[in-house]
Structures are given as C-alpha cells and as structure tokens.
Symmetry: C2
Subunit: 316 residues, 2 copies
C-alpha cells in the first residue's frame, strides 16, 4: 500500500488554513516529497510524519511557493538525525538555487544529491539505507521516476512515479523448471544465477507480471497535449487547478496556470483513475463551489485540502 | 498607543501551534518586525496584519529559526504592492545572507536597505512614506533603535526601540514668549525659525518632556551584565526563555540560551515594567509549568503564546 498525503494545497501565498504546494508519498516506511513550500515542515508535523526518512524531494520549479520550505525542512532533517544522502530533483537552475539556500544554513549532516533537469527515467530501489538511485544496469526497477517539461513562466517539470509490483513466487513453475530450493530466494529478488553449470533466471520461478501503481504530479503549467500522454493510466493524477471558475481562463493563460475544467480534460484524455485538484489561488476561498466544472468532464475528481490522505492499493 | 503582537514564540523548529521567533510592533499604522522565522507571513495573516506597511525588519541572528521566513515574507510584500524601501537590520554577516536569500526570489519591486551590525543609535521618523531613517542632523528623534551584542553561538544582537512622545503645545508659554501665531505649528514640530530678526526655538512653545515607551527584544543569548543596562526601564522586555526548568542550566550554558530564572534576573536588574518570556524549546510543551521559576525573581512576567497582543500606553 502507498499513502499520498496532501501537505499543502495552496498556490502563491500561504494562508492559515491552506499551506503551500507539497505532497508526501509514503512507501514501505520511506518518504518522497513533491514540492516544498514555506511551512512544509509544519504540515509534516500536523500529519505526524517524521523527517528522517525523506529520501527524495522532487521540485517542480523554483518559485517561492514551491521551494521556500526547503531550508527549514533540510535543517530540521539534520536535527532529526538524518545522515543518509538526500536526493533533490528539479528543473534547470535547481542546483544554483539549492546552493544559495544551503549557504544560508548551518552545515548539514548529510549530503545533497541534486539532479538537475533529469531527461531520462530514474530508478530507485528500497534498500536498508532508504530509497537509493539504482545503478544503470539494475534489472529490477522498483520505483521509476519520470519527468515532463511543462509550460510555466519559469523552467518547470512535472513528475510521474511508478511503484512496480514484484511478480509472485510460482511454486509449480519452480518445481517444473527443476530449480534447486537454495536458489529460490535470490531468483525471486531478480538475480540470475549460474549454479552447477546451469543458468537460472528469475523468470523460472516467477508468475505473470502484476500491475504497479502510478502517481502523477503536474503543477504549475498550461495544459499541453503531451501531459495527457505522460500521465496515461495514472492511478492518481495530482494536478494544479489554480482557478475554479471557467471565466478565469484569461488569468490562467496569462499566469500560465489551469482552470478546473482544463485539468479535468487532461485527466480524461490521460485515462487516469482519479484526479486530485490542488494549488488553489488565494482568491479561491471555496474550491468546492467549482467542483462541477471538473465533474462535467471527468467524474472521479477530488478537491484537495491540507492533510487529505489517500491510500492506493494494488489492483490484484 | 503601541501594539506588540507575538507572532511566533518557539525556538528551533516550528510546531503546529507554536511558530518560530517573530514579534510585530504596530505604531501609527506602520509596522516593525523583530525576527522572521519560517511561517511568519502565515502568523501575520492569523492576526490580520497586512504586509505592505512593514518598514523595518530587525534580525537578531542568522540561524534558520529566526530568518527562514524572510524570502516568503518579502515576496508576499512585493505581491501586496509594497514599493517603498524596506530596512533590514542585522548582525555581522546579514548582508551576505540577505543577498543569498534574495537570489532565490523573483525580483522585488522595492529596495532593501540592509544595515549590518549597527553600532550607534538609528533614528526613524514617521513620514508620509512610512518609517524612514532620519538624517543624522535631525533634532526630532521619534523612534530610536539601539543594539547590543549578545553571547550566542553565532553573531547575535539584541534590540531596544524607544518611541518618544512629543511635548505638548503650551499656549501660556507661547503667549508669554510673544511668539507670533504663524510660527506655532512649525515650532511645535521641532523647527527653529528666524522671524523679523528674532530667533524662535521650539522650547518657547512646548511644555515639559514626556515619557516615551521602550521595548527591548533579547534573543538568543546567555545572560550578560550589560543586558541589564541595555534594557533599563523598558516598558516591555521580551526575552528568550528557552528552558523553563532550572535544572536545564547545563543545556542553557552549552547551547548559549537562558532559563526562565536567568531571564527574570535580567528583568529585575534592568528594572523593567514587564517581562514577556518567549523562544521556548520544542521540548518545552507547557511553559506555564515553570512560570514560578521566573515569578520568584520578577513578579510581572507573562508567558508568550502565538497571537498574544499587548497594548502599551504612554504613562501620562
């Protein structure tokens, strides 16, 4: 099971009851953060999430409402005993911004591994040292992070994260293939083994492929056709809906954001299971008022609020 | 009347119900801020304080819990239509930190006037353009900001701010001194005038001196004898009390902070009217538990909490 918790559903400026852009994903005791607006560390405390196990921080772009929580969060992670390296992904320019922010802090007891503008998939594995980037030769792609370039007023990237599901051990198949018992465990974990002059492959003990879970995180941007392809078949599509009212389309165009119905159209075209709208304008006091603008286009839509937790379960 | 509002009474890390170090002073429609921990802009919204009229920001030191709210606050001030310059005072090193923080923001629509480690009094006047630093020759010292070097693990300064009170116009004295009516207004405002070959001085129309109001802001530091002199006769002495329990004295010494009773002793020796304890350790869940440790030494002590507002009125 994977848990997605909305830490901050606001855009622009933080409000007392709506913090800035941040989403937490919990996976097997580890944590992945998307965006880190001011107050993210407070929002983490509100949902009783610890700081030490945050292994990956994905930043959409370097506008303040998406990054000004970083210095405080990283400092607190240091004070919480984090010593393992932390991966920070972000768009063009992220390295310089991180350098400048870090220069305002006390020295951190962990390394920052900054990955600027990744252009190919990045694979992470859950290890005893938390989520670690896999070597390029790794067969097992436990978590696949992918990015797409968005259309905002500054370099901005969207993310998809795919949690793959290991194939089940198939006892009948193992026996049929005459695989010695002592190899079962390693083969199940994806290793190929030569034993007594015979090559054993994982496929000899594993059942059929199983569906993983895909979550997409798209903010801030105008809608683009390629986004629908990028988010295709997501189990959860988290998308900015800065404006609820369709009449705000001119503002959405000039500020490079989206209206609820534009986000819903992406959800429909991307054939996602659920749309979670977030990043509401400070002027949008009650986003629920405009829910139908999205529902008319895509039925399974939820208006995010700070603290909203969603459990995603594998389909079989 | 002057209003002092505690925006954040915590030290170290922000908690859901206790934000980080920040104090707001409201004076004649203008605002002065002391420290700016992460979330200060949210705390300002909680007390319905606008952003546009913040003219002076005094930073004690550059630890994150006192400054990480600056980039968000300054950005929001810009978005709120602030165009007048903003004065930022701080200890040695503040200029570089501000430069680094500013480099992570979009360009601001106002100038930052950074005053690093001020060693003499700074006088501010309330003008139609907000609180502005007075020219050195100004006779009228409306607001006097003073600093003292503290004893912390990084360069740190304490502040006192004195709001002087204009002398009353004394009609009898003006008539007695045969001051022409057309000069009364200018003389009352502090100007000296030569009129028909005679020198007229403000003193010829003004009554006796009146007491102003003094507020002191001391965090983070070990107690020092000179602090008692510096805060002398303050109407409100805001002081760190990181630890409530006297048994935490070893922690206080090694972390360069104070216990409640140390702060109370400073209040007593400084002959202040009221002590407001703040900057509580995250481990100090209920500071009220230790109130008596301060009260035994200095009676008029208040435990700060976020949102606490205190009105200070002139004594006569």
């Amino acid at each position: 099971m994977i848990e997605a918790i909305m830490l901050g559903s606001g855009g622009g400026m933080p409000m007392p009851d709506r913090f800035l852009s941040s989403l937490l994903i919990k996976y097997k005791g580890r944590k992945i953060l998307f965006d880190c607006g001011e107050g993210t560390q407070v929002a983490l405390r509100k949902v009783n999430a610890g700081f030490k196990s945050i292994d990956i921080i994905c930043i959409s772009h370097v506008h303040g409402d998406h990054i000004f929580g970083l210095p405080g969060l990283l400092s607190t992670m240091g004070n919480s005993g984090r010593i393992l390296p932390v991966n920070i992904l972000g768009p063009l320019g992220i390295t310089k911004i991180i350098d400048n922010l870090v220069s305002t802090m006390n020295s951190l007891p962990f390394e920052l591994n900054v990955i600027e503008n990744p252009t190919s998939n990045i694979v992470f594995l859950n290890t005893s040292d938390g989520l670690k980037m896999a070597k390029s030769c790794s067969d097992y792609k436990e978590i696949i992070l992918n990015t797409v370039t968005l259309d905002h007023s500054t370099p901005c990237i969207g993310y998809s994260i795919y949690f793959s599901r290991q194939r089940k051990f198939d006892l009948e198949k193992a026996l049929e293939n005459q695989v010695p018992k002592e190899l079962w465990n390693k083969l199940q974990k994806g290793e190929s083994i030569v034993f007594e002059d015979r090559l054993y492959e994982p496929d000899m003990v594993l059942g059929s492929d199983r569906n993983g879970l895909k979550i997409s995180f798209i903010t801030d941007t105008r809608p683009l056709d390629k986004i629908a392809d990028f988010i295709n078949n997501s189990d959860l599509f988290i998308c900015e809906g800065t404006y609820g009212n369709c009449d705000d389309i001119d503002k959405a165009i000039s500020n490079k954001h989206m209206t609820f119905n534009e986000a819903a159209l992406l959800a429909k075209n991307g054939n996602v299971k659920e749309l979670l709208l977030t990043h509401f304008s400070t002027a949008l006091g009650n986003p629920h008022q405009y829910l139908n603008n999205a529902k008319e286009i895509f039925e399974n839509v939820t208006i995010a609020y700070d603290g909203l937790s969603q459990n995603l379960t594998y389909s079989e």
